[in-house]
Protein backbone atom coordinates (compact mmCIF):
# COMPACT_ATOMS: atom_id res chain seq x y z
CA UNK A 1 0.00 0.00 0.00
CA UNK A 2 2.71 2.37 1.00
CA UNK A 3 4.52 1.74 -2.25
CA UNK A 4 1.40 2.47 -4.28
CA UNK A 5 0.93 5.68 -2.39
CA UNK A 6 4.48 6.69 -3.09
CA UNK A 7 4.09 6.01 -6.77
CA UNK A 8 0.88 8.01 -6.83
CA UNK A 9 2.54 10.83 -5.00
CA UNK A 10 5.38 10.84 -7.44
CA UNK A 11 3.01 10.93 -10.36
CA UNK A 12 1.03 13.69 -8.72
CA UNK A 13 4.01 15.80 -7.98
CA UNK A 14 5.22 15.28 -11.54
CA UNK A 15 1.88 16.47 -12.85
CA UNK A 16 2.05 19.42 -10.56
CA UNK A 17 5.55 20.24 -11.61
CA UNK A 18 4.97 19.80 -15.33
CA UNK A 19 2.95 22.95 -16.03
CA UNK A 20 5.53 25.03 -14.23
CA UNK A 21 8.36 23.46 -16.20
CA UNK A 22 6.39 24.01 -19.39
CA UNK A 23 5.80 27.63 -18.47
CA UNK A 24 9.51 28.07 -17.96
CA UNK A 25 10.43 26.55 -21.27
CA UNK A 26 7.76 28.57 -23.08
CA UNK A 27 9.07 31.76 -21.51
CA UNK A 28 12.59 30.82 -22.50
CA UNK A 29 11.50 30.19 -26.05
CA UNK A 30 9.63 33.48 -26.23
CA UNK A 31 12.68 35.32 -24.96
CA UNK A 32 14.87 33.57 -27.49
CA UNK A 33 12.54 34.31 -30.38
CA UNK A 34 12.24 37.93 -29.28
CA UNK A 35 16.01 38.28 -29.23
CA UNK A 36 16.42 36.64 -32.63
CA UNK A 37 13.69 38.85 -34.11
CA UNK A 38 15.22 41.95 -32.62
CA UNK A 39 18.58 41.10 -34.15
CA UNK A 40 17.36 39.67 -37.43
CA UNK A 41 14.48 41.97 -38.41
CA UNK A 42 16.59 44.94 -39.51
CA UNK A 43 18.82 42.56 -41.43
CA UNK A 44 15.89 40.82 -43.07
CA UNK A 45 14.32 44.17 -43.93
CA UNK A 46 17.59 45.37 -45.45
CA UNK A 47 17.87 42.13 -47.40
CA UNK A 48 14.29 42.41 -48.64
CA UNK A 49 14.78 46.04 -49.59
CA UNK A 50 17.97 45.25 -51.49
CA UNK A 51 16.05 42.66 -53.52
CA UNK A 52 12.86 44.68 -53.99
CA UNK A 53 11.62 46.09 -57.26
CA UNK A 54 9.24 48.45 -55.48
CA UNK A 55 8.50 48.42 -51.77
CA UNK A 56 6.48 51.38 -50.57
CA UNK A 57 2.83 50.69 -49.86
CA UNK A 58 2.79 46.94 -49.38
CA UNK A 59 3.79 44.77 -46.41
CA UNK A 60 6.19 42.83 -48.57
CA UNK A 61 7.97 44.06 -51.72
CA UNK A 62 5.94 43.95 -54.91
CA UNK A 63 8.61 42.00 -56.78
CA UNK A 64 12.20 40.79 -56.50
CA UNK A 65 15.28 41.58 -58.54
CA UNK A 66 19.08 41.46 -58.39
CA UNK A 67 19.24 44.75 -60.26
CA UNK A 68 20.53 46.74 -57.27
CA UNK A 69 23.36 44.34 -56.61
CA UNK A 70 24.43 44.58 -60.23
CA UNK A 71 24.19 48.35 -60.07
CA UNK A 72 26.14 48.48 -56.82
CA UNK A 73 28.97 46.32 -58.12
CA UNK A 74 29.10 47.85 -61.58
CA UNK A 75 29.45 51.32 -60.15
CA UNK A 76 32.93 52.78 -60.76
CA UNK A 77 33.36 53.37 -57.06
CA UNK A 78 32.77 49.77 -55.93
CA UNK A 79 36.15 48.15 -56.53
CA UNK A 80 38.37 51.10 -55.56
CA UNK A 81 36.53 51.64 -52.27
CA UNK A 82 36.46 47.89 -51.53
CA UNK A 83 40.17 47.65 -52.19
CA UNK A 84 40.90 50.60 -49.91
CA UNK A 85 38.81 49.06 -47.16
CA UNK A 86 40.73 45.82 -47.52
CA UNK A 87 44.01 47.74 -47.37
CA UNK A 88 42.95 49.62 -44.25
CA UNK A 89 41.74 46.39 -42.61
CA UNK A 90 44.89 44.51 -43.47
CA UNK A 91 47.10 47.37 -42.28
CA UNK A 92 45.30 47.60 -38.96
CA UNK A 93 45.20 43.81 -38.60
CA UNK A 94 48.98 43.75 -38.92
CA UNK A 95 49.84 46.80 -36.80
CA UNK A 96 47.42 46.15 -33.94
CA UNK A 97 48.84 42.74 -32.92
CA UNK A 98 52.36 44.07 -33.39
CA UNK A 99 51.59 46.70 -30.78
CA UNK A 100 49.53 44.58 -28.41
CA UNK A 101 51.29 41.22 -28.41
CA UNK A 102 54.79 42.38 -27.40
CA UNK A 103 53.34 44.71 -24.76
CA UNK A 104 51.20 41.94 -23.30
CA UNK A 105 54.06 39.46 -23.42
CA UNK A 106 56.21 41.92 -21.51
CA UNK A 107 53.44 42.36 -18.97
CA UNK A 108 52.83 38.64 -18.58
CA UNK A 109 56.44 37.53 -18.55
CA UNK A 110 58.16 40.38 -16.74
CA UNK A 111 56.04 43.17 -15.29
CA UNK A 112 52.51 42.13 -14.28
CA UNK A 113 52.01 45.32 -12.29
CA UNK A 114 51.77 47.34 -15.51
CA UNK A 115 48.71 45.50 -16.70
CA UNK A 116 45.99 47.74 -15.20
CA UNK A 117 47.60 50.79 -16.84
CA UNK A 118 47.69 49.19 -20.25
CA UNK A 119 44.14 48.03 -19.82
CA UNK A 120 42.99 51.54 -18.96
CA UNK A 121 44.87 53.14 -21.84
CA UNK A 122 43.46 50.66 -24.33
CA UNK A 123 39.91 51.66 -23.45
CA UNK A 124 40.40 55.42 -23.79
CA UNK A 125 39.64 55.52 -27.56
CA UNK A 126 36.17 54.11 -26.91
CA UNK A 127 35.49 56.59 -24.17
CA UNK A 128 36.12 59.59 -26.47
CA UNK A 129 33.47 60.93 -28.87
CA UNK A 130 34.35 60.15 -32.48
CA UNK A 131 34.93 63.80 -33.42
CA UNK A 132 37.30 64.32 -30.53
CA UNK A 133 39.16 61.16 -31.40
CA UNK A 134 39.42 62.22 -35.04
CA UNK A 135 40.72 65.68 -34.14
CA UNK A 136 43.15 64.20 -31.64
CA UNK A 137 44.47 61.75 -34.21
CA UNK A 138 44.90 64.48 -36.79
CA UNK A 139 46.67 66.70 -34.25
CA UNK A 140 48.90 63.93 -32.99
CA UNK A 141 49.95 62.36 -36.27
CA UNK A 142 49.48 64.71 -39.20
CA UNK A 143 51.33 67.85 -38.18
CA UNK A 144 54.33 66.34 -36.41
CA UNK A 145 54.73 63.14 -38.44
CA UNK A 146 53.03 64.03 -41.71
CA UNK A 147 51.12 60.75 -41.74
CA UNK A 148 48.95 60.33 -44.83
CA UNK A 149 45.16 60.27 -44.53
CA UNK A 150 44.92 56.55 -45.31
CA UNK A 151 47.66 55.93 -42.75
CA UNK A 152 45.68 57.93 -40.25
CA UNK A 153 42.59 55.83 -40.85
CA UNK A 154 44.59 52.66 -40.33
CA UNK A 155 46.00 54.04 -37.08
CA UNK A 156 42.47 54.89 -35.94
CA UNK A 157 41.28 51.36 -36.63
CA UNK A 158 44.29 50.13 -34.68
CA UNK A 159 43.32 52.39 -31.81
CA UNK A 160 39.72 51.22 -31.82
CA UNK A 161 40.76 47.59 -31.97
CA UNK A 162 43.09 47.94 -28.99
CA UNK A 163 40.74 47.15 -26.11
CA UNK A 164 39.41 44.13 -27.89
CA UNK A 165 42.80 42.85 -29.01
CA UNK A 166 44.12 43.55 -25.55
CA UNK A 167 41.41 41.69 -23.68
CA UNK A 168 41.17 38.67 -25.91
CA UNK A 169 44.93 38.15 -26.15
CA UNK A 170 45.33 38.84 -22.44
CA UNK A 171 42.74 36.16 -21.70
CA UNK A 172 44.55 33.69 -23.95
CA UNK A 173 47.90 34.39 -22.31
CA UNK A 174 46.43 33.97 -18.83
CA UNK A 175 44.69 30.76 -19.85
CA UNK A 176 47.95 29.16 -20.98
CA UNK A 177 50.08 30.61 -18.12
CA UNK A 178 52.52 32.07 -20.62
CA UNK A 179 55.24 32.66 -18.07
CA UNK A 180 55.53 29.10 -16.79
CA UNK A 181 55.19 27.64 -20.28
CA UNK A 182 57.98 29.89 -21.54
CA UNK A 183 60.17 28.77 -18.67
CA UNK A 184 59.39 25.13 -19.36
CA UNK A 185 60.28 25.65 -23.02
CA UNK A 186 63.51 27.42 -22.06
CA UNK A 187 64.50 24.47 -19.91
CA UNK A 188 63.92 22.26 -22.96
CA UNK A 189 66.44 24.26 -24.95
CA UNK A 190 64.04 26.52 -26.85
CA UNK A 191 65.07 30.08 -27.71
CA UNK A 192 62.55 32.91 -27.91
CA UNK A 193 61.88 32.28 -31.58
CA UNK A 194 60.85 28.68 -30.93
CA UNK A 195 58.88 29.65 -27.83
CA UNK A 196 56.96 32.25 -29.81
CA UNK A 197 56.32 30.02 -32.78
CA UNK A 198 55.55 26.73 -31.05
CA UNK A 199 53.94 27.80 -27.78
CA UNK A 200 52.85 31.42 -27.49
CA UNK A 201 51.49 32.06 -30.98
CA UNK A 202 49.20 29.00 -31.01
CA UNK A 203 48.13 30.01 -27.52
CA UNK A 204 47.09 33.53 -28.43
CA UNK A 205 45.65 32.61 -31.83
CA UNK A 206 41.99 32.61 -30.71
CA UNK A 207 42.38 36.04 -29.13
CA UNK A 208 44.24 37.37 -32.14
CA UNK A 209 41.54 36.09 -34.48
CA UNK A 210 38.73 37.80 -32.62
CA UNK A 211 40.69 41.04 -32.65
CA UNK A 212 41.22 40.80 -36.40
CA UNK A 213 37.54 40.07 -36.91
CA UNK A 214 36.62 43.25 -35.10
CA UNK A 215 38.91 45.23 -37.37
CA UNK A 216 37.30 43.63 -40.43
CA UNK A 217 33.85 44.57 -39.14
CA UNK A 218 35.00 48.12 -38.42
CA UNK A 219 36.42 48.49 -41.90
CA UNK A 220 33.26 47.20 -43.54
CA UNK A 221 30.80 49.31 -41.62
CA UNK A 222 32.35 52.29 -39.85
CA UNK A 223 31.43 55.55 -41.59
CA UNK A 224 31.97 58.51 -39.25
CA UNK A 225 35.69 58.10 -38.59
CA UNK A 226 36.42 56.90 -42.11
CA UNK A 227 34.86 60.06 -43.49
CA UNK A 228 36.55 62.33 -40.94
CA UNK A 229 39.99 60.78 -41.30
CA UNK A 230 40.35 59.87 -44.94
CA UNK A 231 37.40 61.83 -46.25
CA UNK A 232 36.85 62.45 -49.94
CA UNK A 233 40.48 61.90 -50.90
CA UNK A 234 40.50 58.21 -49.98
CA UNK A 235 36.94 56.92 -50.00
CA UNK A 236 36.39 53.55 -48.41
CA UNK A 237 33.50 51.14 -48.71
CA UNK A 238 31.28 52.69 -46.01
CA UNK A 239 31.68 56.12 -47.65
CA UNK A 240 30.61 54.72 -51.00
CA UNK A 241 27.69 53.14 -49.20
CA UNK A 242 26.67 56.48 -47.69
CA UNK A 243 26.91 58.16 -51.08
CA UNK A 244 24.77 55.44 -52.63
CA UNK A 245 22.18 56.07 -49.97
CA UNK A 246 21.65 59.52 -51.47
CA UNK A 247 20.95 58.03 -54.91
CA UNK A 248 18.89 54.93 -54.13
CA UNK A 249 18.31 53.25 -50.76
CA UNK A 250 18.06 49.85 -52.45
CA UNK A 251 21.61 50.09 -53.78
CA UNK A 252 22.78 51.13 -50.33
CA UNK A 253 20.93 48.10 -48.89
CA UNK A 254 22.59 45.81 -51.41
CA UNK A 255 25.95 47.22 -50.34
CA UNK A 256 25.09 46.68 -46.68
CA UNK A 257 24.29 43.03 -47.41
CA UNK A 258 27.54 42.64 -49.38
CA UNK A 259 29.45 44.11 -46.42
CA UNK A 260 27.71 41.71 -44.09
CA UNK A 261 28.52 38.72 -46.27
CA UNK A 262 32.13 39.86 -46.33
CA UNK A 263 32.29 39.94 -42.51
CA UNK A 264 30.63 36.53 -42.42
CA UNK A 265 33.23 35.09 -44.80
CA UNK A 266 36.05 36.63 -42.76
CA UNK A 267 34.70 35.16 -39.52
CA UNK A 268 34.34 31.71 -41.08
CA UNK A 269 37.90 31.96 -42.37
CA UNK A 270 39.18 32.97 -38.96
CA UNK A 271 37.20 30.22 -37.29
CA UNK A 272 38.87 27.79 -39.66
CA UNK A 273 42.34 29.15 -38.91
CA UNK A 274 41.74 29.15 -35.15
CA UNK A 275 40.31 25.64 -35.37
CA UNK A 276 43.49 24.35 -36.91
CA UNK A 277 45.48 25.71 -33.99
CA UNK A 278 43.43 23.85 -31.49
CA UNK A 279 44.51 24.22 -27.92
CA UNK A 280 43.57 22.27 -24.87
CA UNK A 281 42.93 25.25 -22.66
CA UNK A 282 39.49 25.79 -24.10
CA UNK A 283 40.65 29.13 -25.43
CA UNK A 284 39.88 27.91 -28.92
CA UNK A 285 36.27 27.51 -27.91
CA UNK A 286 36.02 31.21 -27.27
CA UNK A 287 33.32 32.88 -29.34
CA UNK A 288 34.95 34.64 -32.23
CA UNK A 289 32.19 37.15 -32.88
CA UNK A 290 32.11 39.25 -29.80
CA UNK A 291 31.69 42.79 -31.03
Amino acid sequence: MAIVMTAEETALSQMRRKPRAQMGSILLRVALIAAVLYLALPLLATLAFSLATIWSRTVLPEGYTLEWYVAAIQDDRFWPTTLRTLQATLGAAIISPLLVVPALLAVHLRAPKWKPWLEFLSIVPWALPGVVLALAMIRAYISPFNVSRPGLLILTYVLLSLPFMFRSIDASLSAIDARTLSEAAQMLGAGWFDIGRRILLPGIMPGLMSGVLLIAALGAGEFALASLMAGSGWKTFPIYQAQAQGVDGRIASALAIIGLLYVLVVSLLLLFVAGRNRSGTGAAGMPLVNK
Binding site: I176, D177, T180, L181, E183, A184, A185, Q186, M187, L188, G189, A190, G191, D194, R198, I199, P202, G203, N277, R278, S279, G280, T281, G282
Partner: protein, 355 residues
Protein backbone atom coordinates in the same frame (compact mmCIF):
# COMPACT_ATOMS: atom_id res chain seq x y z
CA UNK B 1 75.82 9.29 -15.70
CA UNK B 2 74.64 12.01 -13.35
CA UNK B 3 76.36 15.34 -13.09
CA UNK B 4 78.02 16.84 -10.05
CA UNK B 5 76.74 20.16 -8.81
CA UNK B 6 78.47 22.79 -6.72
CA UNK B 7 76.73 25.91 -5.53
CA UNK B 8 78.96 28.46 -3.83
CA UNK B 9 77.88 31.44 -1.72
CA UNK B 10 74.72 32.11 -3.68
CA UNK B 11 72.80 35.36 -3.03
CA UNK B 12 69.54 36.50 -4.57
CA UNK B 13 67.23 39.27 -3.49
CA UNK B 14 63.98 40.60 -4.91
CA UNK B 15 63.87 44.29 -4.04
CA UNK B 16 64.23 44.51 -0.28
CA UNK B 17 63.62 40.83 0.38
CA UNK B 18 66.61 38.48 0.41
CA UNK B 19 65.36 35.17 -0.94
CA UNK B 20 68.62 33.25 -0.95
CA UNK B 21 71.31 34.24 1.49
CA UNK B 22 74.75 32.65 1.17
CA UNK B 23 73.65 29.17 0.11
CA UNK B 24 76.29 26.58 -0.74
CA UNK B 25 75.66 23.00 -1.82
CA UNK B 26 77.85 20.13 -2.90
CA UNK B 27 76.07 17.35 -4.75
CA UNK B 28 77.88 14.25 -6.02
CA UNK B 29 76.95 12.53 -9.30
CA UNK B 30 73.89 10.29 -8.98
CA UNK B 31 72.77 11.75 -5.67
CA UNK B 32 69.16 12.49 -4.83
CA UNK B 33 69.15 15.70 -2.79
CA UNK B 34 66.07 17.41 -1.38
CA UNK B 35 65.78 21.08 -0.52
CA UNK B 36 63.34 21.04 2.37
CA UNK B 37 61.69 23.92 4.16
CA UNK B 38 58.50 25.88 4.67
CA UNK B 39 57.23 28.23 1.96
CA UNK B 40 59.38 31.34 1.65
CA UNK B 41 62.55 29.60 2.85
CA UNK B 42 64.29 30.13 -0.50
CA UNK B 43 64.25 26.55 -1.72
CA UNK B 44 62.39 27.24 -4.97
CA UNK B 45 64.50 30.33 -5.68
CA UNK B 46 67.63 28.24 -5.16
CA UNK B 47 66.30 25.70 -7.64
CA UNK B 48 65.43 28.42 -10.15
CA UNK B 49 68.93 29.87 -9.79
CA UNK B 50 70.42 26.45 -10.55
CA UNK B 51 68.06 26.18 -13.55
CA UNK B 52 69.04 29.64 -14.78
CA UNK B 53 65.48 30.97 -14.62
CA UNK B 54 66.68 33.56 -12.09
CA UNK B 55 70.00 35.37 -12.14
CA UNK B 56 72.17 35.19 -9.06
CA UNK B 57 73.22 38.47 -7.46
CA UNK B 58 76.38 36.80 -6.21
CA UNK B 59 77.95 33.38 -6.03
CA UNK B 60 78.57 30.68 -8.58
CA UNK B 61 76.95 27.52 -9.88
CA UNK B 62 79.15 24.77 -11.26
CA UNK B 63 77.78 21.72 -13.08
CA UNK B 64 80.26 18.94 -13.82
CA UNK B 65 83.15 21.32 -13.30
CA UNK B 66 81.73 23.90 -15.73
CA UNK B 67 80.73 27.30 -14.39
CA UNK B 68 77.22 28.04 -15.62
CA UNK B 69 76.26 31.00 -13.43
CA UNK B 70 75.86 33.35 -16.38
CA UNK B 71 74.79 30.84 -19.01
CA UNK B 72 71.12 31.05 -20.09
CA UNK B 73 68.85 28.11 -19.12
CA UNK B 74 68.63 26.90 -22.72
CA UNK B 75 72.31 25.97 -22.70
CA UNK B 76 72.64 24.47 -19.23
CA UNK B 77 71.32 21.03 -20.27
CA UNK B 78 69.23 20.63 -17.16
CA UNK B 79 65.87 18.88 -17.02
CA UNK B 80 63.15 20.49 -14.95
CA UNK B 81 59.70 19.44 -13.78
CA UNK B 82 57.34 22.14 -12.54
CA UNK B 83 54.81 22.05 -9.74
CA UNK B 84 51.84 22.60 -12.06
CA UNK B 85 53.30 20.34 -14.81
CA UNK B 86 53.53 23.23 -17.33
CA UNK B 87 52.66 20.98 -20.26
CA UNK B 88 52.09 22.75 -23.56
CA UNK B 89 48.29 22.74 -23.94
CA UNK B 90 48.32 22.94 -27.72
CA UNK B 91 50.52 19.84 -28.09
CA UNK B 92 49.75 16.15 -27.61
CA UNK B 93 51.62 13.95 -25.15
CA UNK B 94 53.86 12.80 -28.01
CA UNK B 95 54.58 16.36 -29.15
CA UNK B 96 55.19 17.55 -25.60
CA UNK B 97 57.79 14.86 -25.04
CA UNK B 98 59.26 15.48 -28.50
CA UNK B 99 59.53 19.23 -27.91
CA UNK B 100 63.20 19.40 -26.92
CA UNK B 101 64.20 16.97 -29.68
CA UNK B 102 62.35 19.03 -32.29
CA UNK B 103 63.89 22.27 -31.06
CA UNK B 104 67.23 20.52 -31.38
CA UNK B 105 66.35 19.56 -35.02
CA UNK B 106 66.75 15.82 -34.45
CA UNK B 107 65.82 13.63 -37.43
CA UNK B 108 62.21 12.45 -37.47
CA UNK B 109 62.85 8.73 -36.93
CA UNK B 110 65.10 9.39 -33.99
CA UNK B 111 62.46 11.66 -32.42
CA UNK B 112 59.79 8.99 -32.85
CA UNK B 113 62.02 6.27 -31.40
CA UNK B 114 63.17 8.35 -28.43
CA UNK B 115 59.64 9.53 -27.57
CA UNK B 116 58.41 5.94 -27.71
CA UNK B 117 61.21 4.93 -25.32
CA UNK B 118 60.37 7.72 -22.91
CA UNK B 119 56.65 7.00 -22.94
CA UNK B 120 57.40 3.38 -22.14
CA UNK B 121 59.64 4.51 -19.30
CA UNK B 122 56.74 6.38 -17.67
CA UNK B 123 54.06 3.86 -18.78
CA UNK B 124 52.15 6.24 -21.02
CA UNK B 125 52.40 4.59 -24.45
CA UNK B 126 48.64 4.57 -24.91
CA UNK B 127 48.26 8.29 -24.15
CA UNK B 128 50.62 9.48 -26.90
CA UNK B 129 47.96 11.16 -29.00
CA UNK B 130 46.01 12.75 -26.16
CA UNK B 131 46.13 16.42 -25.19
CA UNK B 132 47.10 17.47 -21.66
CA UNK B 133 43.52 18.39 -20.72
CA UNK B 134 42.53 14.79 -21.48
CA UNK B 135 44.98 13.42 -18.90
CA UNK B 136 44.71 13.05 -15.12
CA UNK B 137 47.08 14.99 -12.86
CA UNK B 138 49.27 11.96 -12.29
CA UNK B 139 49.50 11.26 -16.02
CA UNK B 140 50.30 14.90 -16.74
CA UNK B 141 53.15 14.79 -14.27
CA UNK B 142 54.49 11.62 -15.94
CA UNK B 143 54.42 13.42 -19.29
CA UNK B 144 56.27 16.34 -17.71
CA UNK B 145 58.87 13.92 -16.39
CA UNK B 146 59.30 12.18 -19.74
CA UNK B 147 59.55 15.56 -21.45
CA UNK B 148 62.26 16.71 -19.04
CA UNK B 149 64.25 13.51 -19.65
CA UNK B 150 64.12 13.71 -23.46
CA UNK B 151 67.57 15.21 -23.91
CA UNK B 152 69.12 12.89 -21.32
CA UNK B 153 70.04 15.70 -18.94
CA UNK B 154 72.58 14.61 -16.32
CA UNK B 155 70.86 16.87 -13.78
CA UNK B 156 67.13 16.90 -13.09
CA UNK B 157 65.40 19.59 -11.05
CA UNK B 158 61.98 18.94 -9.55
CA UNK B 159 59.93 21.75 -8.01
CA UNK B 160 57.34 20.21 -5.67
CA UNK B 161 56.29 17.86 -8.46
CA UNK B 162 53.86 15.82 -6.37
CA UNK B 163 52.18 18.50 -4.29
CA UNK B 164 49.24 18.95 -6.66
CA UNK B 165 48.39 15.23 -6.63
CA UNK B 166 46.28 13.24 -4.21
CA UNK B 167 47.89 10.98 -1.64
CA UNK B 168 47.65 7.57 -3.38
CA UNK B 169 49.06 8.83 -6.71
CA UNK B 170 51.70 10.78 -4.82
CA UNK B 171 53.01 7.62 -3.15
CA UNK B 172 53.00 5.71 -6.41
CA UNK B 173 54.83 8.44 -8.32
CA UNK B 174 57.29 8.89 -5.48
CA UNK B 175 58.37 5.27 -5.73
CA UNK B 176 58.56 5.51 -9.48
CA UNK B 177 60.64 8.66 -9.33
CA UNK B 178 63.18 6.95 -7.10
CA UNK B 179 63.25 3.92 -9.43
CA UNK B 180 63.83 6.13 -12.48
CA UNK B 181 66.55 8.10 -10.74
CA UNK B 182 68.42 4.90 -9.84
CA UNK B 183 67.83 3.34 -13.24
CA UNK B 184 69.07 6.38 -15.18
CA UNK B 185 71.73 7.25 -12.61
CA UNK B 186 70.52 10.84 -12.50
CA UNK B 187 71.54 13.61 -10.17
CA UNK B 188 68.30 14.99 -8.78
CA UNK B 189 67.56 18.18 -6.86
CA UNK B 190 64.11 17.94 -5.37
CA UNK B 191 62.27 20.85 -3.76
CA UNK B 192 59.59 20.03 -1.22
CA UNK B 193 57.96 21.33 1.93
CA UNK B 194 56.88 17.81 2.87
CA UNK B 195 59.44 16.36 5.28
CA UNK B 196 58.11 12.81 4.94
CA UNK B 197 58.59 13.02 1.17
CA UNK B 198 62.12 14.40 1.54
CA UNK B 199 63.00 11.67 4.06
CA UNK B 200 61.60 8.88 1.91
CA UNK B 201 63.28 9.92 -1.34
CA UNK B 202 66.60 11.50 -0.57
CA UNK B 203 70.18 10.45 -0.13
CA UNK B 204 70.71 13.81 1.46
CA UNK B 205 68.36 16.50 2.72
CA UNK B 206 69.17 20.22 2.82
CA UNK B 207 66.97 21.93 5.39
CA UNK B 208 66.45 25.59 4.52
CA UNK B 209 65.18 28.43 6.65
CA UNK B 210 64.82 32.11 5.77
CA UNK B 211 67.05 31.87 2.72
CA UNK B 212 69.89 30.03 4.43
CA UNK B 213 70.91 26.40 4.80
CA UNK B 214 69.98 25.27 8.27
CA UNK B 215 71.37 21.73 8.12
CA UNK B 216 72.58 19.18 5.59
CA UNK B 217 72.52 15.48 6.28
CA UNK B 218 71.14 12.08 5.48
CA UNK B 219 67.50 11.59 6.48
CA UNK B 220 68.70 9.46 9.42
CA UNK B 221 71.11 12.12 10.66
CA UNK B 222 68.49 14.83 10.40
CA UNK B 223 66.02 12.78 12.32
CA UNK B 224 68.36 11.58 15.05
CA UNK B 225 70.48 14.69 15.43
CA UNK B 226 68.73 17.79 14.18
CA UNK B 227 71.40 20.47 14.50
CA UNK B 228 69.24 23.53 14.92
CA UNK B 229 66.04 24.51 16.70
CA UNK B 230 64.45 24.94 13.32
CA UNK B 231 65.41 21.50 12.05
CA UNK B 232 64.29 19.97 15.33
CA UNK B 233 60.89 21.55 14.95
CA UNK B 234 60.48 20.93 11.26
CA UNK B 235 61.47 17.29 10.93
CA UNK B 236 59.40 14.56 12.54
CA UNK B 237 57.38 15.17 15.67
CA UNK B 238 58.99 15.92 18.98
CA UNK B 239 58.20 17.10 22.49
CA UNK B 240 59.67 20.56 22.84
CA UNK B 241 59.81 23.00 25.72
CA UNK B 242 61.65 26.24 26.32
CA UNK B 243 63.19 25.63 29.72
CA UNK B 244 66.29 26.18 31.91
CA UNK B 245 69.27 24.04 32.71
CA UNK B 246 69.71 23.41 36.43
CA UNK B 247 72.38 21.46 38.25
CA UNK B 248 71.75 18.97 41.02
CA UNK B 249 75.21 18.37 42.39
CA UNK B 250 77.12 18.26 39.10
CA UNK B 251 74.33 16.52 37.17
CA UNK B 252 72.75 18.79 34.54
CA UNK B 253 68.96 18.64 34.54
CA UNK B 254 66.14 20.49 32.82
CA UNK B 255 62.85 21.48 34.34
CA UNK B 256 59.84 19.79 32.72
CA UNK B 257 56.60 20.73 34.50
CA UNK B 258 57.19 20.10 38.19
CA UNK B 259 59.87 17.51 37.50
CA UNK B 260 63.58 17.64 36.70
CA UNK B 261 64.87 15.55 33.80
CA UNK B 262 68.54 14.59 33.70
CA UNK B 263 70.27 15.47 30.43
CA UNK B 264 73.50 14.27 28.95
CA UNK B 265 76.45 16.06 30.61
CA UNK B 266 78.13 16.74 27.25
CA UNK B 267 75.02 18.61 26.10
CA UNK B 268 75.30 22.30 25.38
CA UNK B 269 73.35 23.58 28.34
CA UNK B 270 74.89 26.02 30.75
CA UNK B 271 73.48 26.78 34.14
CA UNK B 272 70.48 29.11 34.19
CA UNK B 273 70.33 29.64 30.44
CA UNK B 274 67.00 29.47 28.62
CA UNK B 275 67.25 26.57 26.18
CA UNK B 276 65.02 24.57 23.91
CA UNK B 277 64.82 20.91 24.90
CA UNK B 278 63.43 18.36 22.44
CA UNK B 279 62.98 14.62 22.37
CA UNK B 280 61.23 12.19 20.06
CA UNK B 281 57.93 10.56 21.13
CA UNK B 282 59.36 7.08 20.48
CA UNK B 283 62.45 7.57 22.67
CA UNK B 284 60.60 7.40 26.00
CA UNK B 285 59.33 4.39 27.94
CA UNK B 286 56.13 4.29 29.98
CA UNK B 287 55.57 2.30 33.19
CA UNK B 288 52.86 2.09 35.81
CA UNK B 289 53.32 4.40 38.80
CA UNK B 290 54.41 1.47 40.97
CA UNK B 291 57.41 0.79 38.71
CA UNK B 292 58.42 4.43 38.29
CA UNK B 293 62.14 5.07 37.81
CA UNK B 294 63.64 7.79 40.06
CA UNK B 295 63.88 10.53 37.37
CA UNK B 296 60.62 9.69 35.59
CA UNK B 297 57.97 12.26 34.69
CA UNK B 298 54.71 11.54 36.49
CA UNK B 299 51.51 12.25 34.56
CA UNK B 300 48.04 11.18 33.48
CA UNK B 301 47.09 9.69 30.12
CA UNK B 302 44.71 12.09 28.36
CA UNK B 303 44.34 10.36 25.04
CA UNK B 304 45.22 7.00 23.46
CA UNK B 305 45.43 7.00 19.65
CA UNK B 306 45.79 3.67 17.86
CA UNK B 307 47.89 4.14 14.70
CA UNK B 308 48.35 0.51 13.62
CA UNK B 309 51.85 -0.71 14.54
CA UNK B 310 52.26 2.06 17.08
CA UNK B 311 49.97 3.70 19.60
CA UNK B 312 50.38 7.32 20.62
CA UNK B 313 49.74 8.41 24.22
CA UNK B 314 49.06 12.05 25.11
CA UNK B 315 50.25 12.38 28.70
CA UNK B 316 49.81 15.51 30.83
CA UNK B 317 52.77 15.81 33.20
CA UNK B 318 52.12 17.43 36.57
CA UNK B 319 52.84 21.18 36.39
CA UNK B 320 53.25 21.11 32.59
CA UNK B 321 51.26 23.31 30.21
CA UNK B 322 50.46 20.83 27.46
CA UNK B 323 50.55 17.06 27.07
CA UNK B 324 53.68 15.26 25.90
CA UNK B 325 53.45 12.64 23.17
CA UNK B 326 54.82 9.14 23.63
CA UNK B 327 54.75 6.48 20.90
CA UNK B 328 54.70 2.85 22.04
CA UNK B 329 54.46 -0.29 19.99
CA UNK B 330 50.81 -1.23 20.03
CA UNK B 331 51.32 -4.48 21.93
CA UNK B 332 52.84 -2.86 25.00
CA UNK B 333 50.38 0.04 24.76
CA UNK B 334 47.56 -2.39 25.54
CA UNK B 335 48.45 -2.04 29.24
CA UNK B 336 47.47 1.62 29.31
CA UNK B 337 44.15 3.44 29.32
CA UNK B 338 42.86 6.97 29.34
CA UNK B 339 42.84 8.58 32.78
CA UNK B 340 45.52 6.27 34.11
CA UNK B 341 48.47 7.67 36.08
CA UNK B 342 51.83 6.68 34.54
CA UNK B 343 55.56 7.31 34.79
CA UNK B 344 57.51 8.34 31.67
CA UNK B 345 61.27 7.79 31.52
CA UNK B 346 63.22 9.80 28.96
CA UNK B 347 66.85 8.67 28.50
CA UNK B 348 69.24 11.57 29.03
CA UNK B 349 70.96 10.98 25.68
CA UNK B 350 67.61 11.23 23.83
CA UNK B 351 67.10 14.83 24.93
CA UNK B 352 68.58 17.39 22.59
CA UNK B 353 69.33 20.85 23.93
CA UNK B 354 69.39 23.95 21.69
CA UNK B 355 70.83 27.16 23.07
Amino acid sequence: MGASLQVRDLYKSFGEATAVNDVSLDVSPGQFVSLLGPSGCGKTTTLRLIAGLERADEGEIIIDGREVTHIPPQRRKIGMVFQQYALFPNLTTFENVAFALRVDREPKERVARRVQELLELVHLEEAAQRYPYQLSGGMQQRVALARALAMEPPLLLLDEPLSALDAAIRDELRTELRRLQRHLDLTVIYVTHDQAEAMALSDEVVVMEKGTVSQVGTPRELYDRPATRFAAGFIGSSNRRVTRVEFVGNRPMIRWGDALLPISPNGRGERGNAVLAAWRPESATVTTLGNAAPDALIGTIELVTFLGPITRLDILVAGDSEPILVDLDSTSAQNFDMGQGVAVSVPAEAIRIYA
